[in-house]
C-alpha cells in the first residue's frame, strides 16, 4: 500500500491505477490514514534543512583540483613512469575529494511550496481569531477548485 500511495503522490500511476487508488481512498479510512502518513513523511524529508558549505570550502576544493590538474594534464604527454603514477594518485585524490564534497556537504535544496496547503492553513488559523464562516467559506470552493 505504501509503495502504491507513494507512486500516487509522485504522479507515477496510470489514469486507471490512479482512479482505482482514489476509489480506495474514498472507501477506506485505513488508506486515507496511510496516505496522510506517507505525505507527512515526504514533507518531513523535504523539510530537512540544508546548509551551505563552510566559508572557503569550495575555494579550497577548487584550488586542490586546479593543483591536481597541473599534475594530471601531463598524462597525455610523454612522461616518466614516476610522473604517471603521481598523475593517477592525483586524479584519484581529486575524484575522492569530489565524491566526499557531494556526499558530506549538503547542497541547497530546491523548494516548491504547497500553495494550496498554505492557503488552507491560513484559513484554519484565521478562523481561530475571526468569524469562522466568512473566513472559511472561501476555502470550500478552493478545495473543489483544485480538483
Amino acid at each position: 500500500m505504501n509503495d502504491v500511495l507513494s507512486a500516487y503522490l509522485d504522479g507515477e500511476l496510470s489514469d486507471a491505477e490512479r482512479a482505482e487508488v482514489e476509489a480506495q481512498l474514498e472507501r477506506s479510512a485505513e488508506w486515507r490514514t496511510e496516505l496522510a502518513e506517507v505525505r507527512a513523511a515526504r514533507d518531513a524529508l523535504r523539510g530537512i534543512p540544508s546548509r551551505d558549505a563552510p566559508e572557503g570550502f569550495w575555494d579550497a576544493v577548487f584550488a586542490r583540483v586546479e593543483a591536481d590538474d597541473d599534475v594530471v594534464v601531463p598524462i597525455t604527454a610523454a612522461r616518466s613512469d614516476r610522473r604517471r603514477r603521481w598523475g593517477w594518485v592525483a586524479a584519484s585524490a581529486a575524484a575522492v575529494a569530489a565524491v566526499v564534497a557531494v556526499i558530506v556537504v549538503p547542497h541547497r535544496n530546491e523548494v516548491t511550496p504547497n500553495v494550496t496547503a498554505v492557503i488552507a492553513q491560513h484559513g484554519a488559523q484565521g478562523s481561530d481569531s475571526g468569524d469562522p464562516v466568512t473566513v472559511l467559506a472561501p476555502v470550500g470552493p478552493l478545495a473543489g477548485f483544485r480538483r
Binding site: 523548494v111 500553495v115 494550496t116 481561530d128 481569531s129 468569524d131 466568512t134 470552493p141 473543489g144 477548485f145
Partner: protein
Amino acid sequence: MTRLRPLTLATSASIALALVVAVATSAGAGTDSDAKHAARLVRDARHAAADHDFTGEATVTWTTANGMHRASVRVMNGDGATAITASDGGEVIDEGRRTYLHDQLGWTGLVIEPSARKIPPPDHRWKLATAGAATVAERRGTVVLATRSNGEPAQRLVVDDATGVLLARDVLGPKGNVQRSVRFTSIDLGEDSLTHVGVRGGMRSRKAEPLASAPDGYHAPSTLAGFQLVTRSRHPDGVLFFYSDGVFTASVFEQQGDLDWSALPSGGSDSQLADTRTRTYNDPSGDVAVWEHDGLVLTCVTDAPSDVFAHMVGALASDERSTAEQVVDFVLGPFGWG
C-alpha cells in the same frame, strides 16, 4: 439703532465660541462613541457563530485577472462546529482549533496551530464606523466600515442586529471595487435551525510546534506594514508566521532553499514587487505571493485588499521597514506575541 457696548460684544462672542466648542465636542463624542460601537460589533461577530446555531447558503465571490468568479456554499453551524460545503465538492469542517478539509485526496486533518489569542483589537489600525442599515438574506443588519487613512473603505461588514452573526463581508480595493466577498443569500437562525455538524471521528491531526522566536535562518519582524505578529510555529517543511492587523490576517510561510519556479501551481502571474520576482495568485480565500529572498522561499497569504497586500509583500521582499517598526520590533521582539 442701539449700539452694542464693547462688553456686550465680548460677551456675545464668548457665548458664540462656547456654543461652537460645545457642538464640536458633542460631534466628536458622537464619532468616538460610534467607533467604539463599531469595534464592539466586529469583536462580538467573531464569537457570535459559537453562540448561535444556523444553516444557510452563502455566495463567495473573488476577482482575478480573468474577471469576477462566484461560488455557492452551504453552511451548517452547530455544536461548536462549522461545516462548509461547496457545490463543486470542496468541504471544510472547523471545530475551533481542529480543521478538516475534503479535496481530491479525501479528508485531511490540517495541522493544528498555536492558539491565536493576542490578536490586535479591530480598531488597532483601521478607523471603524457604522454606516446605516442593510438587509441581507432578509435579515436586518448594521453596516460597519473599516476605512483607510485616506478615507476609502477597505472592508464593509453587515452584522445581524438580532444575533450579531456576520451576514456579509466585502473586501474593497483602493478605488472602492469589491475584490472579495462572502454574503449569505439565505440563513435560518434560531431554535428551529438546531443542527448537528458531523465531526470527523478517527482523523488524526498533527500539531505545529509553537515557537517563542524565529529560528536561525528565518526572518519575521514583530510588526510588518501595520500587521502584528501573532503566532510562530514550526511545520515539517518550514516555519509559519501568522499576522493580524485587527481586521485582516496574513500568513507568511518560510522554507529554506531555492524556489523551484517551474513546479509552482499553474494559474498565477509573474510580477515585480520591490524589485523582486514574485508569482502571485488570486484565490477565493485571498491573495497569494511566492518569492525567494536571502536563502528563503516565502509564501504569503492574506485576506487583505490588494494595496495592503502589496505594501506588506514589498516590506518583506525588500526588508525595508520604517524606523518606528524597527524600534517596535526591537522592543517587542524578546516578549513575542505568540
